[in-house]
């Protein structure tokens, strides 16, 4: 399967840190993207929201680096920095002119390794996170997604919002956060990805030098137990939300995690066959021909332990039941009838080209390697195109039969209040 050589170097440093590097000649930009296996899934349930709040607090400096100095140093040299947290990871990103990396990467490393988490900053930044939660609660699509996640993942941490809740965050202390930080921001949990206009040798030296002196991990409450959920049948939930102008129907199925990549990529193909573009099955039937929906989409989101396949429609409230029934019907058909060669080829080309289009810039490439490096292994992303191309219509059909059954799914429906 892996006939393509991985164009990046993957180096395990003595302290256990993973470095992934790819030089891209002729670009004056470098991206450094540090991925930490310390997302929301690492939290004890009563600490929900800690991983994301910590991502905010990382930027509040160290004993050497007062708050704001890092942001200022990066941005006044023409660079950009940002961070994001999900269930499986947190990651921290700099894009900057290549010759500025040696001056700025040590700052980022210092923040990640030695975040001070000062008590006064902790209190202030908690207000910011509470604003982030308030803002999310004014977004109906965020509310719908959370409701669906809870319904399908049940007690699994993937069902909890990454942001946590106001109640829980109010009870957390800087001491607890320092404990969570030191326990999880350890070299064996960290992948540093450097892509762009810098050769390998200076990169290794730079990273070795910057990412050293990790504090020993303290004891820390263990992550919430995460039994992979299963669905016994169909679960449905209807929510009424204020200010909604249109109903939403979200149907979701559980799918295997990173352990079964072939299955995962096959489900990507099925999503494209069902609802990627106007000539896909559901868009064509439900929006263009029968005009029952404003829009319809399908998506597969790959997660470490347990992935998610969703079909989502924006539509009039009166049409929800009918559309849900049609989707179930079309899924049964997908599992029963052969998929045509033309449809398969179309989906394969769409996804293979998407992959090419999304690895054009150093930042995109760093994100891809970091993501795979964190939830699996960096070079696994290379199997994407060969696996997609190896699929036959018949194998896809049996995949649909196994995973996208109308007998076991959840549906979350949003209606105007």
């Amino acid at each position: 399967m892996n006939s393509v050589d991985f164009p990046a170097s993957v180096i395990r440093l003595e302290n256990g840190l993973t470095l992934i590097h790819q030089e891209i000649a002729a670009t004056p930009v470098v991206v450094a993207d540090v991925w930490v296996r310390a997302g929301a899934i690492a939290e004890p349930a009563e600490w929900a929201g800690m991983a994301h709040f910590l991502e905010h607090m990382i930027f509040k400096g160290t004993d050497q680096l007062p708050p704001g100095v890092f942001d200022y140093a990066i941005e006044t040299q023409g660079g950009m920095t940002n961070a994001a947290t999900s269930h499986d990871y947190a990651h921290f990103y700099i894009a900057i002119a290549a010759d500025m990396l040696p001056q700025t990467l040590p700052y980022l490393a210092d923040l990640l390794l030695h975040a001070a988490i000062p008590a006064d900053e902790f209190g202030r930044e908690r207000q910011v996170v509470l604003e982030e939660i308030r803002q999310a609660q004014d977004d109906p699509d965020w509310l719908g997604y959370q409701a669906m996640s809870e319904l399908i993942y049940q007690d699994h941490p993937y069902g909890r919002p990454v942001l946590g809740t106001a109640e829980i965050l109010q009870q957390r202390s800087p001491e607890e956060m320092r404990c969570f930080h030191q326990a999880h921001y350890q070299p064996d949990q960290m992948t540093v990805v450097i892509t762009g206009g810098i050769p390998l040798e200076p990169t290794v030296e730079l990273v070795k030098h910057a990412f050293r002196g990790f504090a020993p991990p303290p004891p820390c409450p263990p992550a919430a137990s995460s039994r992979v959920p299963s669905l016994p049948g169909v679960r449905r939930e209807v929510l009424h939300l204020p200010r909604l102008e249109q109903s939403r129907l979200t149907m979701a199925w559980l799918a295997p995690g990173i352990g079964q990549l072939e299955t995962a990529y096959g489900l990507d193909l099925l999503a494209a066959i069902l609802a990627e573009g106007r000539s896909s099955r559901l868009v064509r039937e439900l929006r263009e021909d029968r005009q029952l929906v404003q829009d319809v989409g399908a998506g597969f989101s790959l997660q470490r332990e347990c992935s998610l396949f969703t079909i989502q429609a924006w539509l009039e409230g009166d049409d929800v039941d009918r559309v849900e029934a049609i989707v179930c019907d079309r899924l049964s058909e997908l599992a029963a009838k052969p998929i045509s060669e033309a449809e398969l080829t179309r989906a394969q080309r769409l996804l293979c080209n998407d992959y090419a289009f999304s690895t054009e810039a150093p930042g995109q490439l760093a994100g891809l390697y970091g993501y795979y490096g964190t939830i699996a292994a960096a070079d696994r992303c290379l199997s994407y195109v060969p696996i997609l191309q190896s699929y036959t219509g018949d194998r896809l059909r049996s995949l649909a039969d196994q995973y996208l059954t109308p007998l076991r799914y959840v549906s979350t429906i949003l209606h105007p209040a």
Partner: protein, 427 residues
């Protein structure tokens, strides 16, 4: 950083006999070609009763041509895994495409066909209208959009910038096929079009492709449509939308310089200083030091006509008054406080660095080059803009703040108990 990419001799600029401008930049790094077909006609050319016409028209281009149905167009594009999209902005409209190099000729030819010979089929018009009307209603779901639409209406009055490009329920309901045909005939002509092609393609091959598909397109003898815009009179107001949201949105807007006004580079710098990034003044003062917001920022769109300088914040309802005071204080303080040399230099580094970071993909470069050309600035503007920014002095910045940052228009959204008294206090 990538400035050299855009300089001669690598950038090829050609004007065809029919007046169509072509810009080609070969970039062999990835097996990707991006192209844009810009038309010098945005929503500013709409009559008030036709608001949304250009956006509607652009959406329909890919929904049927003289020889192809909507589904045939979609199948052509999707079967090779390409992308073909359209967009309408205030000052221009554009068709965008992206392919792997081997598929470029086929998809570019399709883009040329839908630009030249759209058929506006009645059933597709009906479907597009239904979808558009719902989209207009759905804007009400997003508090930021509601607050911004209100600000824009207040600031621009009868000027076309007053409305979102998508139009209103009333105007979109009234658009006819004849309106579409007329607008297309009037504005979609070769001497009103700029094509940019960037990626793994030889300049000669790209040019030949444009000649083949668009070279025989004749411009009508009539002169190009001229743009006349109503004047905007400034009379700052404070408007309120009451909604039981979890957050209040507070927005202030100051009428601001067009892209061709000498103050443009200084205002872009001030926008960077105040609102761009984690080290920007608004972010540090209102979020980092006071914990008032998650989202606080400023934006200053590049416009051919009178632009607007907007600062906004989303905050807990009980903090709305403090937030409004804080936003105004930070913007208007620049009238009397001269930035330090270091602050100005930092803002320059940040603006120019991020400008360079915005030119990494073929699509970004194709967009930037064509945009400058279609706005009448020319591709040289890529360098000129950077030079003008570098030349701004602290006194320039102060003078510009004094010229533009007077009493702002204010838009408030949130629970009545929080925003109504605040609005009353502005009267």
């Amino acid at each position: 950083m990538t400035a050299s990419l855009l300089q001669a001799p690598r950038l090829h600029r050609t004007v065809l006999a029919n007046g169509l401008t072509v810009l080609v930049l070969e970039n062999p790094v990835a097996d990707i070609v991006s192209a844009r077909l810009f038309i010098r006609a945005g929503s500013t050319f709409e009559a008030p009763h036709q608001a949304g016409l250009v956006s509607f028209l652009m959406g329909l281009l890919t929904k049927g041509s003289d020889t192809l149905s909507s589904m045939a167009i979609a199948e052509t594009v999707e079967s090779v895994g390409a992308s073909l999209g359209t967009d309408a902005a205030a000052d221009y409209s554009v068709i965008s495409l992206k392919t792997v190099s081997a598929d470029f000729a086929e998809i570019f030819a399709l883009a040329a066909t839908v630009l030249r010979q759209p058929s506006f089929p009645p059933d597709e018009i009906d479907l597009e209208r239904r979808l558009t009307l719902q989209q207009i209603r759905s804007m009400q779901e997003q508090p930021f959009t509601v607050a911004f639409n209100q600000l824009r209406r207040d600031m621009y009055g009868e000027h076309p910038y007053a409305l979102p490009g998508i139009g209103t329920e009333a105007t979109v309901s009234a658009i006819t096929q004849q309106d579409l045909v007329d607008f297309h005939r009037q504005h979609m002509r070769p001497d009103n079009v700029v094509v940019t092609i960037v990626g793994r393609i030889a300049p000669e091959a790209a040019l030949a492709q444009v000649e083949k598909t668009l070279g025989d397109w004749m411009a009508p003898a009539t002169p190009l449509p001229a743009l006349t815009l109503p004047p905007v009179t400034s009379a700052p107001t404070c408007s309120v939308v009451t909604q039981d949201t979890n957050q209040a949105i507070v927005m202030v807007g100051y009428p601001a310089a067009s892209v061709k006004h000498p103050a443009y580079p200084a205002l872009k710098l001030i926008n960077t200083y105040l609102g761009n990034g984690l080290s920007s003044r608004l972010f540090v003062e209102l979020r980092e030091k006071r914990g008032l917001a998650y989202d606080v920022s400023a934006f200053y769109p590049t416009r051919l006509g009178l632009s607007q300088f907007v600062a906004y914040i989303g905050t807990a309802p009980e903090n709305a008054a403090t937030a409004l005071e804080g936003l105004r204080f930070e913007v208007e303080r620049l009238q009397t406080t001269v930035l330090s040399d270091e602050e100005l230099q930092s803002a320059k580094n940040k603006l120019l660095g991020q400008y360079a970071l915005g030119k990494q993909t073929n699509a970004q470069i194709a967009q930037l080059l064509g945009w400058y050309e279609i706005l009448g600035l020319g591709v040289e503007y890529d360098q000129q803009f950077q030079d003008m920014v570098a030349a701004v002095t602290v006194l320039d910045a102060e003078a510009v703040a004094q010229e533009f940052f007077h009493t702002p228009y204010i838009s408030l959204l949130g629970p009545e108990a929080a925003v109504a008294p605040l609005a009353a206090a502005q009267a």
